[in-house]
């Protein structure tokens, strides 16, 4: 697990959770684990392919998910219905998308798959030989645990290298 993979996720999580649900965040102790990921009550999973590959998981209790969804929807969510599920999936999607910009700056261009939401604590998800960086975050809605299971897939690209696309000019219309 490269150190360049950590900060984009931490920074993106702070920004997105603050903006979308007004979260006050406290970061816990980071750790790296090799065992399979065990899901929490609600887990958003997003696949990543490109110069880095693997998956990112956002785990939380159903209560936390409901409270954040209620904030995003502007209404109470006594039941974690499909709209609440979509809102929580979007949170994971936006954090990962924003983090992918930071990964690109470090030379690791990547693309994301649409989010998948897994319900039920204790589902074992193997990341097949990819170590997981665990980022625990505490918020007023409860704990959110980000698991980043990414590995390099080729050397990083220089930002302005041919093929990176990053040196080209954007012509705004």
């Amino acid at each position: 697990m490269k150190v360049e993979f950590i900060n984009p996720f931490v920074e993106a999580a702070y920004r997105v959770l603050k903006q979308e649900v007004g979260a006050e965040i406290e970061k816990g102790q980071l750790s790296i684990v090799e065992s399979a990921h065990t899901s929490e009550e609600v887990t958003v999973m997003i696949g990543v392919v490109g110069r880095v590959q693997g998956a990112v998981f956002y785990g939380m209790s159903e209560k936390t998910a409901k409270q954040m969804a209620a904030k995003m929807l502007g209404q109470s969510t006594p039941v974690f219905d499909s709209m609440a599920e979509s809102a929580i999936a979007e949170l994971g999607n936006v954090i990962t998308g924003l983090a992918s910009g930071g990964l690109e700056k470090a030379g690791y261009q990547c693309r994301l798959a649409p989010p998948t939401v897994i319900f039920g604590r204790g589902v074992i998800i193997s990341t097949v030989n990819i170590k997981r960086l665990v980022i625990p975050l505490s918020t007023q809605y409860g704990r959110i645990q980000i698991n980043v299971a990414l590995r390099e897939n080729g050397p990083p690209l220089e930002l302005n290298a041919p093929g990176s696309g990053a040196g080209e000019q954007v012509r705004r219309l």
Partner: protein, 122 residues
């Protein structure tokens, strides 16, 4: 007549959010859940502006933008995506997008981009 906006996103929550915002500000809103549905709805309804996500199942937003531009070189497509990488912005603009909004969703930015394109359409 009210300007028509086609909102394309696989996330029901995002479609609802954009529908609420745009209808409150005087736009007619159509929705599509993926790029392929967006191309079909564009053919049928010729909206003034398309608000397009990128990461979607069936057909992604970049491919859909290219397909819509084949149908109508004057199409006004605004990308609204979490995928704010520089390379992605370049890819979107090359595909024909007229603007690119990076999530987190900021209603004032979405409205401003849609208003600008609606004024320039047709």
């Amino acid at each position: 007549m009210l300007p028509k906006v086609l909102v394309v996103d696989d996330a029901a929550f995002m479609r609802m959010r954009s529908r609420q915002l745009l209808t409150e500000h005087g736009y007619q809103v159509e929705e599509a859940e993926n790029g392929q549905e967006a191309v079909e709805k564009y053919k049928e309804n010729r909206p003034d502006v398309v608000l397009m996500d990128i990461t979607m199942p069936v057909m992604d937003g970049i491919t859909a933008t290219k397909e819509i531009m084949k149908l109508d070189q004057g199409a006004r497509i605004v990308i609204c995506s979490a995928m704010g990488q520089q390379s992605m912005v370049i890819e979107a603009v090359k595909a024909g997008a007229k603007d690119f909004i990076v999530k987190p969703y900021q209603p004032e930015k979405v409205l401003s981009a849609i208003k600008k394109q609606a004024e320039n359409s047709g």
